[in-house]
């Protein structure tokens, strides 16, 4: 049997280069991140024009496959694809064959039959993007899989920090709250490590994952020396009744909520949204000039444009994209 395989392999023509996906920050190098941030900056400058649409991905099909509710991620992916002139098709689990019990594999195969160039997938289970990558020919962009990864969120956050603070290397960020259930925190930790941002995790004991390779503390005072305080949402939908991660949201807010009193003047505050005002973030903080939440949303659009462009073209934004921008 081994012999047959070897002959078969030898005779097979060289296959196409592996498809580019964005499934996990762990798959990226520092150079990849820098290239994506650079591409995002280019697109951001293009968005200052009166006509914001670029013909870059004209004729391409981007499918958004969302198995979890999402406002900002799904809308920003859809708009990112449209700004680049791609055709888009958005499928939400509710109201589709998924309601009739169709498996992820079969849904992916069905969509794959339309030859999409990119499938953007959000799914409540870890490993869903890998499965779709295995059964379709599309480039896969992970828009969140369970508690594992949310790579575009991490990239847009890094982009936002770089734009707002002017640098990345050597900055300190404190991530506060429900780290255990947070795919954002997992992607951010890896992204920060790549770009030289120091990071610590702050939260209640049961919401700091045991064995996480990171500096962790339950002391909210530890946010004082951070340049940026990154506030995670208390994911109530993932907190089963009686799980007792924290005794109550009231006690959580009192102990770990981000209030103006706990912040130094000028300390920046970020949140991936949607916010629970009065729980993890005081409304006065959420509405302050130091809160970068809307900046994050704006960054989300250009970073996702950069990601779609990058997985499809496989290179830095260069002459081609700029030329395309000129045409527009």
């Amino acid at each position: 049997m081994n012999t047959i395989r070897l002959v078969h392999d030898d005779l097979r023509p060289p296959g196409p280069a592996p498809r580019r996906h964005l499934i996990s920050i762990a798959d990226l190098t520092r150079d990849d991140v820098q290239r994506l941030l650079g591409t995002a900056r280019t697109f951001e400058s293009a968005l200052d024009r009166e006509v914001k649409k670029l013909p870059t991905l004209k004729g391409r099909l981007v499918v958004n496959l969302f198995y979890e509710s999402s406002t900002r991620t799904s809308s920003s992916f859809e708009l990112a694809a449209k700004r680049l002139s791609a055709d888009t098709l958005t499928l939400k689990a509710a109201g589709s064959s998924v309601d009739k019990g169709e498996s992820l594999k079969d849904t992916a195969l069905t969509l794959g039959a339309y030859d999409p160039d990119v499938i953007v997938i959000r799914h409540p289970q870890i490993g869903a993007p890998q499965l779709v990558a295995r059964v379709t020919e599309a480039h896969i962009v992970n828009a969140g899989d369970g508690k594992n990864q949310h790579p575009t969120q991490a990239l847009l956050d890094v982009y936002t920090i770089q734009q707002q603070l002017g640098r990345l290397e050597g900055l300190h960020v404190a991530i506060v709250g429900d780290v255990l259930h947070s795919r954002v925190a997992r992607s951010l930790l890896q992204a920060f490590a790549l770009v030289g941002v120091h990071c610590k995790l702050v939260g209640p004991p049961a919401l700091l994952p045991r064995g996480m390779n990171a500096e962790m503390t339950t002391d909210i005072g530890a946010i004082r020396d951070a340049d940026v305080v990154y506030v995670l949402r208390m994911q109530q939908e993932r907190m089963q009744a009686g799980a007792n991660y924290v005794p109550s949201l009231r006690e959580y807010a009192a102990r770990w909520g981000i209030t103006p009193e706990r912040l130094r003047p000028g300390q920046k505050v970020m949140h991936p949204g949607p916010m629970n005002r009065g729980v993890e973030i005081d409304p006065r903080v959420a509405d302050s000039v130091d809160a970068l939440v809307e900046r994050q949303v704006r960054s989300g659009l250009v970073v996702r444009m950069a990601v779609l462009y990058d997985v499809l073209t496989g290179g830095p934004v260069g002459v081609r994209a700029l030329a395309a921008a000129e045409v527009a």
């Binding site: 049997m1 081994n2 395989r5 498996s103 992820l104 594999k105 799914h123 409540p124 289970q125 870890i126 490993g127 869903a128 890998q130 499965l131 899989d145 369970g146 508690k147 594992n148 990864q149 795919r183 997992r186 994952p209 045991r210 064995g211 996480m212 390779n213």
Partner: protein
């Protein structure tokens, strides 16, 4: 207690194999003659008579293996495995006997259900098969099964494998009553309030990937509870598929204090750690989960010194479509009958971690001792239950080659060294490559 389809004993001479039976103290190149299924002579230059002659030169001849922990999915999920396919798979793995777990649909919790299985096994089983019956009705953990009647109907032992017996009080009653049935309890130790919906071992890999963790202590606190109850009641018990170093520590302590506790470990827990799940291959999802390198080392050490007496595959077939889903949606369990010896040889014997003699002992005499079964042995007068092993043969694990009806092996595409060349079970050739 063991059932096999009726076959005439065969006349075979195996010539010039290296015969290894650690318990009998045989470790030499010899001929073995089998007359009508019974070992008639062991020696040099034996007469072949009219017997079939098998050239064993370059091979090792050992007692055939016993797997005390197999899921045959019958009744209820015959699409995943049947007694015929499961025993054929076992024969290909060098086994002469396997024990089937009762977590079928319906659960084996009555003499009628057990009787039907015994009847099928008598028609279909390629090698000997024994059946465990449930400890509690429907494995619901509420009422004891009629253990004495089930023992009379052929149950080898009792287990709620797949789920723990949650109530300590009920576990105590089961231990008390097991003295009447004369059969051991084989326990799946898991404290569900700690394991919860844990998918993988709680450790750095789970933290990084975002999986809900099933901590080691979720197993070991239940091991400690059941050992304490067994000590109090003075009853033996068997611990299924141990995975955690803390459980091994508890087992050692109980054995040293005189508790008649035995335990088993799977090939995957002996060979892999939770690092493997980074691939997100659903065929690496099993309960208990793969744990840390320290846990793996503790299991190997316990197997080596005999604290863990047997190797069990926990062969758990699943339909293709059930495993072809994201890791988190997949059911727990992997197959193992057809790869167990080869994977142990490749990853433990060849690198010098365990001797071949230790592995053979833990796959033959160990499980026989634990469950009170006849020990397969290379001895004159014994029924021929033999495995002829080619320790050097290199092969790639291929989904198409399985005799099992399922293919959820964690070894697909892996290269292994060492293969079963022939299995003789119950006096007849049950498999040859």
């Amino acid at each position: 207690m063991l059932y096999i389809k009726d076959r005439p004993g065969e006349d075979v001479v195996i010539r010039g194999a290296h015969v290894l039976d650690p318990t009998e103290g045989i470790d030499a190149t010899l001929d073995v003659r089998i007359d009508a299924g019974t070992i008639a002579a062991i020696g040099e230059g034996l007469d072949t008579n009219e017997h079939r002659v098998v050239d064993g030169a370059g091979f090792v001849l050992t007692p055939a293996f016993i797997d005390p922990h197999v899921h045959l999915r019958t009744p209820g999920r015959e699409d995943e495995e049947t007694i015929a396919s499961g025993t054929a798979a076992a024969a290909a793995g060098g086994y002469c006997a396997i024990l089937a777990m009762p977590n079928t649909d319906p659960v084996v919790d009555s003499a009628a259900t057990l009787g039907a299985l015994v009847e099928i096994a008598g028609r279909e089983a390629e090698i000997s098969v024994g059946f465990l019956a449930a400890i509690t009705r429907g494995q619901r953990g509420e009422e004891l099964t009629e253990m004495a009647e089930l023992a009379d109907a052929g149950a080898v032992a009792f287990s709620d494998d797949g789920v723990p017996v949650v109530s300590a009080g009920l576990m105590r009653r089961a231990l008390q009553y097991s003295s009447i049935s004369g059969r051991k309890l084989a326990l799946h130790c898991e404290e569900r309030s700690l394991s919860r919906d844990g998918q993988v071992h709680e450790g750095s890999v789970a933290a990084e990937l975002g999986f809900t963790g099933y901590p080691s202590v979720g197993e070991s606190v239940m091991v400690e509870r059941d050992l304490a109850l067994a000590a109090y009641e003075g009853q033996p018990l068997h611990l299924l598929h141990l995975s955690a170093a803390e459980s091994v520590t508890a087992l050692r302590r109980a054995r040293a204090a005189g508790v008649a506790a035995t335990a088993e470990v799977t090939p995957h827990h002996l060979v892999l750690t939770d690092e493997a799940i980074r691939s997100l291959d659903a065929n690496l999802k099993m309960n208990p989960p793969l744990r840390s390198a320290e846990d793996r080392a503790a299991l190997i050490e316990a197997l080596k010194d005999g604290s863990i007496e047997c190797i069990a595959t926990d062969h758990a077939p699943h339909a293709l479509h059930e495993k072809d889903v994201p890791f988190e949606a997949a059911p727990f369990g992997v197959t193992g009958l057809e790869t167990a010896f080869a994977v142990l040889n490749t990853h433990l014997v060849r690198p010098g971690v365990l001797t071949l003699a230790t592995v053979i002992e833990r796959m033959t005499a160990g499980p026989a001792r634990v469950f009170g079964l006849d020990r397969p042995r290379v001895a004159v007068g014994a029924r021929a239950n033999l495995a002829l092993l080619d320790l050097e043969h290199e092969w790639e694990v291929d989904a198409q080659s399985f005799r099992s009806r399922s293919r959820n092996s964690w070894l697909l595409g892996e290269l292994l060294t060492g293969a079963v060349a022939m299995t003789i079970a119950g006096g007849a050739v049950a498999f040859e490559r």
